[in-house]
């Protein structure tokens, strides 16, 4: 991570503000965030509830537009994007991993991954090299099971496989261990670190847990919609 803009930065954020309208009240969620993330970096974002880390996650992932400020992800300026353009960006530029796994319940693990390929506009069957990733994730034998037949750790590893199957520039993980026990949490965090180290996958991970945050290369602490410090 660096504080200045450089060509190696895959995420560049300047003076980012986001205000939600709740009824007749404006609720500021982000109050001027500056952040740069280098390609291939594993960044943990930690902070209490309401600190704005999920909002930052949603904006970087193109799920919601910024109110003001500049957000450039993989060379694309999100602040100037239409809703449709942000939708297109989500196909290939970012991959999401959620706390609640968010697998499609009626599809097998294999089909959950295939759906992401299909929406991404590529052949539903992943490339042969993806087998290596599945082996790394340890779910090669569980692909023909539906989510309700998989443990939480397995579901989260399938979700990670789905998130990276289109080779996104950034993997965004929102509390990926929030619904897992200690053992599965450790396994998932090690998988993320492996993906980062072996494949050079850029990862942004939101967490409440300092131990989980320690798996990242660096950690950003957020409070009251601002970045409090970086370690």
């Amino acid at each position: 991570m660096s504080s200045g803009v450089s060509n190696g930065d895959i995420i560049q954020i300047r003076d980012l503000c986001k205000t939600y309208r709740v009824g007749k009240v404006n609720v500021p969620a982000l109050r001027g965030v500056d952040l740069d993330v280098e390609k291939g970096h594993f960044l943990s974002i930690i902070g209490p509830s309401g600190s704005g880390k999920s909002t930052l996650f949603h904006i970087i992932g193109g799920l919601t537009p910024p109110t003001t400020g500049k957000v450039v992800v993989d060379g694309k300026d999100l602040s100037a994007m239409t809703d449709a353009a942000r939708t297109r960006m989500r196909k290939r530029t970012v991959g999401f991993v959620f706390q609640k796994f968010n697998l499609l319940p009626n599809l097998t693990a294999r089909d959950n991954i295939a759906v992401a390929r299909y929406i991404g506009g590529t052949d539903a069957k992943p490339e042969p090299e993806f087998e290596e990733v599945l082996r790394l994730l340890g779910i090669g034998e569980r692909l023909d099971h539906k989510p309700n037949a998989l443990s939480g750790g397995e579901q989260q590893r399938v979700a990670i496989a789905r998130a990276i199957v289109n080779h996104p520039a950034i993997l965004l993980a929102d509390e990926p261990t929030g619904n897992l026990d200690t053992e599965n949490s450790k396994a998932v965090l090690e998988v993320l670190r492996d993906l980062n180290r072996r494949l050079g996958q850029t990862i942004l991970m939101i967490t409440h847990n300092p131990e989980a945050a320690a798996y990242g290369d660096s950690t950003v602490h957020m409070r009251d919609g601002r970045i409090a410090d970086r370690t």
């Binding site: 799920l63 919601t64 939708t87 968010n102 499609l104």
Partner: protein, 353 residues
Amino acid sequence: MRSLLSILLIGVPVTLILCLVGLSHGFIEDSQKRQRGSGADILMRPKSSSFLSLNGAPIPEQLVGYMAKQPHVKMATGVYSVVVEGVTLFATGINYEEFTQMCGGFQFHSGGAFQRPDDVILDDYYADQTKAKLGDTINLLNAKWHVSGIMEGGKLTHIVVPLKTLQERLENAGKVNQIYLRLDDPANTAATVKYLTGIPALEGYPIISMEDFTSLLNVNNIPALAGFIAVVMGIGVVIGFAVVCLSMYMAVLQRTREIGILKSLGASKGFILGIILSEAFFLGLGGTILGILMSYAAAALIHALKPASLPMTIAYDWWPIAGAITVLGALLGALYPGLTAAAHDPIEALSYE
């Protein structure tokens, strides 16, 4: 479960449409077949009667003999038909010798020709419907009749009685309400019709070839039937629309989180709308198939209960029409839920419990 219930509800109007059309076609085809089964080439009906009803002043029976003497007329016979039930089931009084000569004779399953004045011959459809057997006494037209024979259907009418007895019981002695003519050669039909209609004594009597008469028996010529079918089709569209709209709206609510997942993967509004419409299409298709199957069940039930009164055919040519109407209703019904789903905010959808 939701989908199965939707398919069932969508299938009901499909069955209604197919049954209505099947009954209309069945009635028409049955009438055509039985009229042709008379063996006549030309038909003369009462003054002021329509092709569907025999209303109007009956024809003097003396005209039967007069008609038999006309050029090219090989034989003539007068009959008296009267409605027994609904609008499709007639009993017909015949002169047995004349009529069987014209139609080539009845094929009896049991029994045979009239032996008594109060004898009645039933065709197998009506006998099945009423469970009547040879030798039974049945009530028809407020009178008792003795079953002297059960015949193969397809000869003019389901119920045949002696003409004289029927005329007396209806206090219409010396009257008939149809005269059937058989010609020496069917090729002379058009010329004979033209000749007969030109005879002053026959002025006002509808005289028509059997071919023309049976061609008049179609859905478009039955008053209000086409309109009634259109109304039922409209109801089918509305039911399909409402069922699918409710079903898909419920599905969209149930799957809000899944829609959010797809959106997070980059699914566009068009993609989401496409999924909802595809499901609606398959619900409509499933409803059509189930509706067709249920129309077979309805036809079997009708055939078992009322084979003579309600002749029903399977209207294959209406399958695509009923299917198109149903799928159209389903797609229209899915449009609003589909657009609602497509407009979901992905963040709100993902946090939906």
